[in-house]
């Protein structure tokens, strides 16, 4: 799917990294991003979707699982069903809001997991270097040799449908990407003066890794990881869309898109709604990630 030009990201991250030495850097970044209208609008939209998903049971919505054969595929704007009903007569508004729960979890969790795993691997590979670096990075290269959609679908296809399986497969897809960024940023920082200085002053490798390198590279990897969330959302929903992710009757946007596809001749716009949700979340994450990157980029 949308693979960002990796080297450009890593380079930008590298340039951003040394600035973290300066005190108040994060405060500056924070100030800059709150001034960015687009980022704030996106953050607001995401916050709304998050909150409504979390608070869904208390919003007085219809039961998202309860269908009725007589009110199938109602149009948008039907009294009592502001967004219509789906192919089993379930309220679309409720299902879209409840659907956020699973969709967000299976979209975001893989990136968080991959962030933890990939950062650890990349840090170790970048800091220790030598044979360990070769071992880790060559293994990573093998997974990198698959286009990410193909890899995700191959793993999911092999493991079978299920939420857990699709989280596993997406994590496997993102670990190599994050590891590569983490490794290249760490290698870059490792050779910089302030690390040399710390080493000369007798700090142990773990202290150096924890205090200096982690502090300096984490921001860069974080920015990269946030840009993956949008890809992950689209892929996770895509797996469900193919029938390789969530199983019915769970409300989840990708799966809803799949099951509603048979209704495009009857009620096309209701059928298209779940995709609009995926699009909205994905574009907000992308814009937010862009905003974050430019806020962290000291050259501007």
């Amino acid at each position: 799917m949308s693979e960002l030009p990796l080297s450009a990201t890593a380079d930008a991250a590298l340039q951003a990294a040394p600035a973290t030495k300066a005190r108040g850097y994060w405060a500056t970044v924070g100030r800059r991003i709150t001034r960015d209208k687009v980022s704030m609008a996106c953050a607001l939209v995401l916050l709304l979707i998050f909150l409504s998903a979390v608070l869904a049971p208390w919003l007085g919505l219809e039961d998202p699982y309860k269908g009725s054969m007589i009110r199938r595929l109602r149009h948008i704007g039907t009294a009592g069903y502001p967004l219509g009903t789906d192919e089993l007569g379930r309220d679309m508004l409720a299902r879209l809001i409840y659907g956020g729960r699973l969709s967000l979890v299976i979209g975001i969790l893989p990136v968080i997991l991959a962030f933890c795993i990939g950062t650890s691997l990349g840090l170790v590979a970048g800091y220790v270097g030598g044979k360990l670096n070769t071992a880790i990075m060559r293994t990573i290269d093998v997974f990198y040799a698959f286009p990410s959609v193909l890899l995700a679908i191959a793993i999911s296809g092999a493991l079978g449908a299920g939420i857990l399986n699709s989280i596993v497969s997406l994590t496997v897809v993102f670990v190599p990407q994050i590891t590569r960024v983490a490794e290249s940023v760490t290698t870059g920082v490792r050779n910089m003066d302030f690390v040399e200085a710390a080493r000369a002053s007798g700090a142990g490798p773990f202290t150096i890794m924890r205090v200096h390198i982690l502090g300096n590279v984490l921001g860069a990897i974080f920015v990269y990881a946030t840009s993956l969330i949008s890809v992950s959302m689209i892929l996770a929903a895509g797996l469900s869309f193919l029938g390789l992710g969530t199983k019915p009757p769970e409300p989840e946007w990708g799966l809803m898109l799949n099951t509603l596809r048979t209704a495009i001749y009857v009620n096309p716009w209701v059928a298209a709604l779940p995709g609009a949700m995926i699009f909205a979340v994905s574009i907000c994450f992308n814009l937010l990630s862009d905003g974050l990157r430019s806020a962290m980029d000291i050259r501007n």
């Binding site: 054969m69 007589i70 089993l88 199983k247 019915p248 009757p249 596809r261 048979t262 001749y265 009857v266």
Partner: protein, 550 residues
């Protein structure tokens, strides 16, 4: 500039219409069909993809020794002579059958159909050291004729078939063994390159699949894997009444209901199997004809009868059967595309029998039975059903199960659904209710085809068919069923055999062995240009009867 363009346009139009004229006059008629299969079923004689495979690439290009009567929409579809004209079991040794073959039949390549061809075709799936033995055809074939052991030529027009044990179902099972041309195959084999005989054999079958030869009413014209199969009529077909009226038939795999419907609406095809139910009103409104008929198919809950299962109480089984408003399901959810099931076979079928227990919607009676069994509004009976979200023949499993869930709640059932993947559900079917894969379920929801007695009754009801042998998922162990199965298998007079099967079926309904819910109706949407369509009560349909008006 402008005038030249216009002149050119007019010229082009004139040319086009001139070209169109003679073509329209001598147009060959082409019937284009959108199948539900994701791929063209195998073309080498033994199709895959279940009975849809047999429908499109089996019965079209090939014949079997016995066939199905597909000429009527009202009568039950029964077994009739095919490439064999008559058959009978040996009176002394009930494992031996004599089949008389139809004279004067030739394969599409011109070679004669005879006893050698029958023996060759039996051995392609049963004799492992035969050169034409093909493991890939064994599974789908051997399991549909589980007792056939071997074949022997008596004379050119007579063969002797031997079964492992006396089995009166053999003639029915033989509808699944299609006769491919040995001569044609041998020609491919002789030309094939390969390291050893096995590799050559495989190459020969691959070549045969692309250029097949059977005896059926349709001949293969061209074949594009996964996209398109073109068949042309076999004007020399042995049954003159079944020589196709259409010149050419094009089969297109379209696994998506939407895609099929769109293709029909836009005129890409003339006929689609299973149109999207939601599009039916539009199809009707635009003048397309809808066909449907009861199929030998059952959508059931198959009960677990292992120790501790709530379904061991016959009152509970009967209550469930009485508590479901099948007509409500039909009209509310399936747009009329089902037939309410009151057993595996419906009245009019030779194997129906006369069950005493009448399956219908009677909520009061159901509630009474449940109360007698010790349940009530304050003491609900929890049951767990394993089902899938999709799958071949499963109709609309989730909505239908949710409907049952709501319906049975009225009769003090608390239904829990365990939704798993279709392949897994299907595999679990062979593992049985005691296996951990059942995940504590006390019923499973795998639909079944009820074409022949073994598949419709025996494999579920006979105690010896319990997992891992076959599909008696719930470990039914009822001596009465076992006796009746044995009786039916060993009754060789067809009428008496049917009576014995009817007795077995009636006994299973009286025992409420399943929750019988629905029969599929094989819906089709067909362009008004197509006439003469007869949809029998079968998985199959006779394309020979169909005509096209240009």
């Amino acid at each position: 500039m402008k005038t030249t363009t216009r002149a050119a346009l007019i010229a082009a139009l004139a040319l086009a219409s001139a070209a169109a004229w003679p073509r329209a006059a001598s147009a060959e008629t082409v019937l284009r069909i959108g199948m539900t299969a994701a791929d063209i079923p195998r073309t080498l004689g033994q199709p895959d993809q279940g009975f849809e495979g047999n429908r499109f690439t089996g019965l079209t290009m090939y014949d079997a020794l016995t066939g199905w009567d597909l000429s009527s929409a009202d009568k039950a579809s029964v077994v009739i002579p095919g490439l064999a004209t008559e058959w009978k079991v040996d009176d002394a040794d009930k494992t031996k059958w004599i089949f008389k073959l139809r004279p004067g039949v030739t394969f599409h390549d011109g070679s004669p159909f005879n006893a050698d061809a029958v023996v060759w075709n039996v051995e392609k799936v049963l004799k492992q050291d035969a050169p034409q033995f093909d493991a890939s055809q064994v599974g789908v074939t051997a399991s549909r004729m589980p007792t056939l052991a071997s074949a022997k030529k008596i004379d050119d027009m007579t063969v002797e078939l031997t079964t492992k044990e006396p089995d009166s179902f053999l003639p029915i099972n033989l509808t699944n063994l299609f006769m491919a041309s040995p001569v044609k195959w041998q020609a491919f084999y002789d030309k094939a390159e390969g390291a050893d005989a096995k590799a050559k054999s495989q190459a020969a079958w691959t070549a045969f699949a692309k250029d097949a030869s059977g005896t059926g009413p349709w001949k293969m014209a061209s074949f594009t894997p996964r996209e398109r199969l073109e068949l042309v009529k076999n004007a020399a077909y042995w049954d003159k009444a079944r020589v196709p009226k259409v010149d050419k038939m094009v089969l297109l795999p379209m696994p998506e209901a939407n895609a099929r419907t769109a293709a029909l609406l836009s005129g890409q095809v003339d006929w689609v199997e299973a149109p999207a139910p939601d599009a039916l009103p539009e199809l009707k409104q635009r003048g397309f004809k809808l066909y449907a008929n009861e199929q030998p198919h059952v959508w059931p809950w198959q009960f677990s009868r292992v120790e501790g299962s709530p379904w061991n109480d016959i009152r509970v089984r009967k209550a469930a059967n009485l508590c479901v408003d099948r007509e409500g399901l039909k009209d509310g959810l399936l747009a009329g595309l089902m037939v309410a099931a009151t057993g595996t076979f419906e009245p009019g079928h030779p194997w129906r029998g006369k069950p005493a227990f009448e399956i219908k919607y009677d909520k009061a009676a159901a509630q009474k039975l449940m109360q007698e069994a010790g349940f009530g509004p304050s003491k609900k009976l929890t049951v767990k059903i394993q089902t899938s979200a999709s799958g071949s023949g499963q109709m609309q499993p989730l909505p239908m199960n949710e409907y049952l869930q709501q319906a049975l709640a009225e009769c003090y059932f608390d239904v829990k659904l365990d939704v798993i993947e279709w392949n897994t559900l299907f595999t679990n079917w062979r593992r049985g209710a005691k296996d951990p894969s059942a995940n504590g379920s006390n019923a499973t929801n795998v639909t079944y085809a009820a074409m022949d007695p073994f598949f419709a009754l025996v494999r579920f009801l006979q105690s010896g068919m319990a997992p891992p042998v076959s599909n008696n998922w719930g470990f039914i162990n009822e001596p009465k069923f076992d006796d009746l199965v044995k009786k039916a298998r060993q009754t060789f007079d067809p009428a008496a055999r049917d009576a014995a099967l009817a007795e077995l079926h009636a006994a299973s309904v009286d025992d409420a062995a399943f929750l019988y819910v629905a029969h599929d109706v094989g819906p089709r949407a067909i362009s008004p240009k197509v006439t003469g369509v007869v949809q029998p009560k079968s998985w199959f349909i006779d394309f020979s009867l169909v005509s096209m008006t240009p």
